[in-house]
C-alpha cells in the first residue's frame, strides 16, 4: 500500500453512556452532548469543521431520511460540507479520512448513532439480507451468528466454555469503561437464545452515539497533545450468500488488515467489533492477534453494542488509548452484515509517518 499523502489523526473521541433505552430523548438529543464533547476537547466550533460525515440507519429509526434530523445538532446552517453513510460510523470515518487525504479539508467531524430500543433489532437486521433467497425466511442476527458459532465448534476452533470465557473477559474489562452497558464478571451467561449461543454470547441491545474529530498534519498537533495517527484504513466485503463462504474464517478482515498496514509491525492493542463471542475467535485468527495483544480493553461490543456506532467506537477507543499514552500502535476493526460479511480495519499509531 502507498503511504498516505498526508498525516491524519484522530484528535478527539466522545461517546454516550450506552443504555437499554433512551426513550425520553430524540436521536439528536442523544447525539448532541457527544458532539459537544469532541468540540470542547479540541476547542473547535461547528463552523470550524471542514467536513462532516455520519453513519446511521433508517431501518433502526423506522423513518426515511432520519439522519437529516440529526443534522440540526451539527449546525448545518449556513451550509456545510456534509455526507452520510447508511452504515456504521466507521465507514463514515473512512469517507472523512479519504476527504482529508484529498486536501479538501483539514478537519472532519464524524459521528454515528443508533437507537435499537424502539424496534426489534434482531428483526430489523434481517432486512439487510439477500431479498430473494434469504430475507423472506426472516433469519435473525442471532440465528446467523449461531450458525457461524456451530461451524467454529465443529471445526475445533472453539467450544462453549471458551466462548463463555470471551464474554466474561470482555465484561470484566468493561468495568473500567464508564460508558458500557454491561459490566463485570458476574453477568450471567444465561440460557440458549439460539443454540449454541447463550445470552452472554450475544451483545446487549441498546442505544448510543459516538463522535470523532479527525485533523491533518500540524492542525492535529495543535488540537491534541498526542494525536492518534491513522497509518491506514481499508475495508473489504465477501459474498452475501452465507453458503458460499467459509464461516470459520474472515478473508475480508485479513485483506483489509493487510492493506491497512496491520501486519507490518505488531500492534499492542486491538479493538474488535465482534458483537458475538464466536466472532472474536474468527477475528483473532484472521488478524493474526497473539496472546500478547490487549483485545477489547473497553469491553468491546459484548459490553455495549449501539448498532451503527459500535464500529466507530472501536476506532475511538483505540485512539483514546493512544491519546492517554496506553498504546503505541493499535488496530481497530468494524464489521457490518451477517457473520462478519464486511470488515474495516484501521491502524493507529502514536507518531506520524515522518517521525518514524
Amino acid at each position: 500500500m502507498r503511504p498516505p499523502i498526508r498525516d491524519i489523526a484522530v484528535v478527539a473521541f466522545g461517546q454516550t453512556d450506552h443504555r437499554r433505552t433512551t426513550d425520553e430523548q430524540s436521536e439528536v438529543e442523544m447525539l448532541m452532548p457527544v458532539l459537544h464533547q469532541v468540540l470542547d476537547a479540541t476547542g473547535l466550533r461547528t463552523s470550524d469543521i471542514g467536513f462532516t460525515c455520519s453513519g446511521s440507519s433508517d431501518y433502526l429509526a423506522g423513518r426515511a431520511f432520519s439522519f437529516t434530523m440529526a443534522l440540526d445538532g451539527v449546525g448545518a446552517w449556513p451550509p456545510i460540507s456534509e455526507s452520510h453513510v447508511e452504515m456504521d460510523g466507521a465507514w463514515a470515518l473512512y469517507e472523512a479520512w479519504t476527504k482529508l487525504l484529498t486536501g479538501e479539508a483539514d478537519t472532519a467531524l464524524v459521528y454515528a448513532y443508533g437507537k435499537s430500543s424502539p424496534g426489534s433489532v434482531r428483526d430489523v437486521l434481517t432486512r439487510q439480507l439477500d431479498p430473494y433467497y434469504v430475507a423472506p425466511l426472516w433469519p435473525d442476527s442471532v440465528a446467523l451468528a449461531a450458525l457461524q458459532a456451530r461451524a467454529l465448534i465443529d471445526a475445533g476452533d472453539t467450544d462453549e466454555p471458551a466462548l463463555a470465557g470471551v464474554a466474561a473477559r470482555s465484561r470484566r474489562s468493561a468495568e473500567s469503561n464508564p460508558h458500557a452497558q454491561l459490566r463485570g464478571g458476574d453477568v450471567p451467561h444465561g440460557d440458549y437464545i439460539v443454540h449454541p449461543l447463550r445470552t452472554g454470547d450475544c451483545p446487549p441491545i441498546g442505544d448510543g452515539a459516538a463522535a470523532v474529530i479527525l485533523a491533518a498534519g500540524d492542525r492535529a498537533r495543535e488540537l491534541c497533545e498526542r494525536p492518534a495517527w491513522i497509518r491506514g484504513v481499508d475495508h473489504r466485503i465477501e459474498a452475501h450468500s452465507l453458503g458460499v463462504r467459509d464461516l470459520t474464517d474472515s478473508p475480508s478482515a485479513r485483506l483489509a488488515a493487510e492493506n491497512a498496514g496491520a501486519f507490518e509491525r505488531p500492534v499492542d492493542t486491538a479493538e474488535l467489533h465482534a458483537p458475538f463471542t464466536s466472532q472474536e475467535v474468527v477475528l483473532r485468527k484472521a488478524l493474526r492477534l497473539g496472546d500478547d495483544v490487549r483485545v477489547n480493553p473497553s469491553g468491546g461490543a459484548l459490553a455495549a453494542n449501539p448498532v451503527m456506532a459500535a464500529g466507530l467506537i472501536r476506532i475511538g477507543e483505540a485512539a483514546a488509548r493512544i491519546h492517554r499514552g496506553e498504546s503505541r500502535r493499535a488496530l481497530a476493526h468494524a464489521t457490518s452484515g451477517p457473520c462478519l460479511q464486511q470488515n474495516l480495519v484501521a491502524v493507529l499509531e502514536d507518531s506520524a509517518q515522518e517521525t518514524r
Partner: protein, 321 residues
C-alpha cells in the same frame, strides 16, 4: 412569554412500517424460483465448475456471468446448524426448529433454510435431510416449507443439465415486510405536542442566537446547541408562502383543491406548515393573517383560518420565507 421546561412527559406511540417491495428477477433467479414452484431445485455452474445452490447470476469469485443451469437433488447434508427454541414472526416454522445450511446432493455450496425436527439433540452437522415442499407454491424460497430428516445415503448423483425453461415462469416476487416500532419523539417534540393538546403552541429559543424554533426539535440548526427556554408563540400568524394542492392523498378526507401554507406564528423565527381553510382557495395570499382551529377533542390544530386582520406587510415576514 417564557417558561422553564416542565419535566418531560415523554410521548410514545406504536409505529408500524410495512413495505411490499416488488422485485423483478433475472434469468437465473427466475429459473430457480420457477423450479421451486415445480418441485425442482436448480443450481448454476461457475467458470471453475462448481455448482452454486442457490444460484446467482455472477460468479462470486470471477464476476463472470453465469447461465449454465443444472438440476440438483432434493436431499442433502447439513453443513452447520443452530437450534431456534423460539421462532419469530415470519420464520419458516412456528414450532421450535433448527436453522440449517444444507448442501444439496450435487451442489458445492449450501442453502439456508429451516429443519423440522424434535430438538437440538436430533441435529448434527453431516446429517442427511430432504426438502419438504409447501403445499401451495408460488415461486419463492418459501416454496420449500422446510427440510426434514432423511435416512438416505449421499448418492453419486451428478447434477443434470437443465434448460431453466418452465411454463409460466415466475418473473418477480413481492417481498412483504413489516417492522414494529415504539416511536418516541424525544423531549422537545413531546413538550410541543403536549402543549398543542392544551391549544398552546410552544417553540424553543436558542441560547446562542436567540431564535425561536417551532416546532422545536431540541437543537438549533444554526448554532448546533440545545434549545433551552420554552416560548409560547402565536396563536395568530402570517402566511409566508403557500401552494394549492390538487392531488388527493390516500386516507385524507379533505375536499380538493386545498391550500397548504407556511405560517410564521407571531414570535417564532421559523415558519411551520399547515392547511388553510375558511377562505376560498384562490383567495389565500402571502401576508394573510391566520389563526389555528382545533376540532373537538383534537390534539393539534386541524387547520388555520383567517383572523380578519389586515394583511401583514411584506417586510415583517420576508426573512421567514
Amino acid at each position: 412569554m417564557t417558561t422553564t421546561p416542565r419535566p418531560p412527559e415523554v410521548l410514545r406511540a406504536p409505529l408500524v412500517v410495512e413495505f411490499p417491495f416488488t422485485r423483478s428477477l433475472g434469468p437465473v433467479q427466475s429459473a430457480f424460483l420457477s423450479g421451486l414452484r415445480d418441485r425442482t431445485v436448480l443450481g448454476v455452474r461457475t467458470t471453475a465448475g462448481e455448482v452454486l445452490v442457490p444460484p446467482v447470476e455472477y460468479d462470486p469469485v470471477t464476476a463472470d456471468e453465469l447461465r449454465d443451469l443444472v438440476e440438483v437433488g432434493t436431499t442433502g447434508t447439513v453443513t452447520t446448524w443452530a437450534w431456534n427454541p423460539e421462532p419469530r414472526r415470519g420464520q419458516p416454522l412456528d414450532t421450535p426448529f433448527a436453522w440449517v445450511l444444507v448442501k444439496l446432493d450435487g451442489a458445492d455450496t449450501a442453502l439456508l433454510h429451516a429443519l423440522d425436527t424434535t430438538g437440538p439433540d436430533a441435529v448434527r452437522t453431516g446429517q442427511r435431510v430432504r426438502v419438504r415442499w409447501a403445499e401451495e407454491r408460488t415461486g419463492a424460497i418459501t416454496d420449500i416449507a422446510c427440510f426434514e430428516p432423511d435416512d438416505s445415503t449421499p448418492g453419486q448423483d451428478r447434477p443434470a443439465p437443465h434448460t431453466g425453461e418452465f411454463e409460466n415462469p415466475v418473473t418477480g416476487i413481492v417481498a412483504a415486510a413489516r417492522l414494529d416500532y415504539t416511536y418516541g419523539p424525544g423531549k422537545a417534540q413531546s413538550r410541543y405536542i403536549n402543549a398543542l393538546a392544551e391549544h398552546r403552541t410552544v417553540g424553543e429559543r436558542c441560547p446562542s442566537c436567540h431564535k425561536v424554533y417551532v416546532p422545536p426539535r431540541g437543537a438549533c440548526p444554526t448554532c448546533g446547541v440545545a434549545t433551552t427556554d420554552q416560548v409560547e408563540v402565536g396563536p395568530a400568524g402570517t402566511v409566508t408562502t403557500y401552494c394549492i394542492v390538487n392531488v388527493k392523498a390516500k386516507n385524507l378526507d379533505i375536499e380538493l383543491p386545498y391550500v397548504y401554507a407556511h405560517i410564521a406564528l407571531d414570535g417564532a423565527d421559523l415558519a411551520l406548515h399547515g392547511r388553510i381553510a375558511g377562505i376560498p382557495y384562490d383567495q389565500v395570499r402571502m401576508g394573510l393573517r391566520v389563526e389555528p382551529v382545533w376540532t373537538e377533542g383534537g390534539r393539534y390544530p386541524d387547520h388555520y383560518r383567517p383572523t380578519g386582520e389586515p394583511d401583514a406587510d411584506y417586510d415583517t415576514y420576508k426573512e421567514l420565507i
